[in-house]
Amino acid sequence: MASLIGFYSLIFGLCLSFLIIFFSIKNFKNLDVFDNKIISFTFLQFFFVVLSFLGLIISFVNSDFSNETVFNNSHSTKPLFYKISGTWGNHEGSLLLWLLVLTLFIFLFLLKSKNQTKKYRVLTLLFQQIIIIGFFIFLIKTSNPFNFIYPVPNEGLGLNPILQDPALAIHPPILYLGYVGSSVIFSSTLAATSLNYISKEWAKHIKKWVFISWIFLTLGILLGSIWAYYELGWGGFWFWDPVENVSLMPWLALTTLLHCILVLEKRLALTSWVVILSISTFTLSMCGTFLVRSGILNSVHTFANDPERGLFILIFLFCLVFLSLFIFFFFHKTQNKDSNSFFWFSKETSILINNWFMIYFLSVVLIGTTYPIFLEVISSDKISVGPPFYNKLIIPFLVPFLFAMAIGPKLSWIKSDLKNKSYLILFLIISLLLSVIIIKSLNINFLVNTILVTSAFYLFFITLRDFFIKGFKNLSQNLTHFGFSLLILSILFNNIFSTEIITNLKIGETFKTDKYKIIFENIEQKDEQNFKAIIGKFNIENSDGKTEILKPELRIYNQPTIVTSEADIKTNFLVDKFITMNLVQNQDYFNIRYQIKPFMLWIWFSVLLISFGGLISLFKKKYEV
């Protein structure tokens, strides 16, 4: 029943799209004022999608296995929380969630844009409806979440256990808010370009949407990363996996866009940058959807390898690309030359430098992610591009990037001079000395690490100084830049100071190094609702005599039968202790992996700081320098 309502709601929602388009075109041509009927229709469309989504949730909660999506991704013994989160833990449900956010955002956009002109609002709605129709048809035609199966199976196939996790339950909705927020930016930019409406006021109005998407995208990536850290059992937080990359690419584009919008709002410059970046942010989000959903790349997000779906998104994606190219080239008017030529030593120039660095990072990630596809098509060689590629291409450029990030905000608009800037040199010397002291005693590459740590410390101190000197003035920018320096520092120290012990142990055995003693004390068994757990008890003795007890688990899930390894992590302010165990086949041995990872908490915390900085900016009334 719920499935039936869900399905028909989808059809109604699609019909409303056509109705909205019809009235929008009429309104665009004839009336002077915005037709409020359209807002009601948009709300109605949102309502139907909500209804459809609720229908799917109810089918999941009731374990209605006559619904194919529920049958494929749920099981009656699953805890209620994961039955609900399972709704979007699969291809069909997650697309429905996309659609839900799409319709919600355009409705909110219409409510929040009352001060803008009628033509601009209507045109934005029209572009957004094109995207919405695309997703409706995609959903109904290739990925219907409400397919019936008959005879009705007694039991479902279950949700992949690694997806049964709280962080992953909220990761998709948050990430989608970011992705889909970029669709509103996309539509409104196209509308503004076609109407030649780009102005300082427009920048001020669209800035809010940029910040909203950016905050959610940042948090979404953070959640995914936290999940990977404790669930995948590698002890890392970023693997340069294609799936991570496709979320990083829109983030890079969006971050660049954010800086450009600020320039646009202040000086009506960089309009081409803004238009191109708005278009690329959304197309990169769509491209990401294509890459992971079509099965062209292999990953945990590949729900099914269905070329038909891939083809649909591909065609849809390129229609959007060509549409935006057309609008950009035929409607976009570049502003007069004057406002685009900046004095070399000014805030504008530093933002431009930031842009080019970001574009460089974006290209590296884009090439690394898509190159294997190109190579396979052209020469049928299979390669995979891994961390060494990204590290080599990105890390050297981080150094000037960090320096630019520290100095840029110190410059004034239009023209800056070097008066009262001597502290910049002083801080450089302090950072350099500090890094030398830290790195000298370690057995690692001295030069590279010193330069890296120096640049990160430099940004750290400069932004820290601003908290004391400027107080709440320019707080959001300072906070995000401070957060970024903290992030880079934490990642660097995490890399430098991590240690790892891998060994095979039987129950009762002890493994000894000069610093640690790992005692495998015993194992116990526990039965949970949907899995059996084997819990190992490990006693870890430090050289200073302190002991700690860690209890990693092996979980044997019943539906589907999959063994997962749950890490046990002891987190404190400075360091994470991370242990996993795995069965060695046909033996009494367990493979033990013990890792000491410093500053993990600080990595998460600094990303939170970064997004918090964005949040402050969102609620700020006045534009700050």
Binding site: F290, N298, L314, V584, Q585, N586
Partner: protein
């Protein structure tokens, strides 16, 4: 209307990308390892571990001898466990052991062999792990018993005493 070069170039560029992605869709990306029992072994060319010269599969698996192809790496802990068994097996005259060194550091691999002795008749060097994919390997260690260019037994995970006996029996 004036012909605009940038839009035209960009359009062509995106059309090419479209076709590459379109072609990419047709290629399945899931490596379902095809090496089931009684299948022919894949034809390949590989680097020899010490000498770095190239050798083809035909030169390695000759005649009606039995071969045990063992995938190993110095970083792989279970490989260390099974190594003594391989040493025992290497004394058998009718079985030749071929090593496939998987995603390894050459120096560390040499130290590994120095420490635990070398049971291998030949060692192939699979630096980036592609050869193991062709063989349909799931991980390290893994062993394939080969007779007359056919895989007659596949062992996933480390060898143990029972499996060793079975291999000896099969090779009689």
């Amino acid at each position: 209307m004036k012909f605009k070069i940038y839009p035209a170039l960009l359009t062509i560029f995106f059309i090419i990308i479209f076709f590459v992605f379109y072609k990419g869709l047709q290629n399945s990306n899931i490596y379902t390892p095809p090496a089931d029992l009684k299948k022919n072994i894949p034809f390949f060319k590989a680097k020899v571990f010490l000498t770095n010269e190239k050798i083809s599969s035909e030169q390695i698996f000759k005649g009606d001898k039995f071969y045990l192809m063992n995938i190993w790496a110095s970083w792989c802990v279970p490989c260390r466990d099974e190594h003594p068994l391989l040493m025992i097996l290497s004394t058998q005259k009718n079985i030749k052991i071929i090593g496939l060194n998987y995603k390894d550091n050459k120096e560390k691999a040499k130290i590994f062999l120095k420490e635990l002795n070398n049971p291998y008749d030949k060692i192939l060097f699979d630096e980036n792990g592609t050869l193991a994919i062709e063989w349909g390997a799931y991980g390290v260690p893994e062993s394939f018993l080969i007779h007359k260019n056919k895989i007659i037994k596949k062992i996933i995970g480390p060898l143990n005493e029972d499996l060793l006996l079975e291999i000896k029996k099969l090779a009689e």
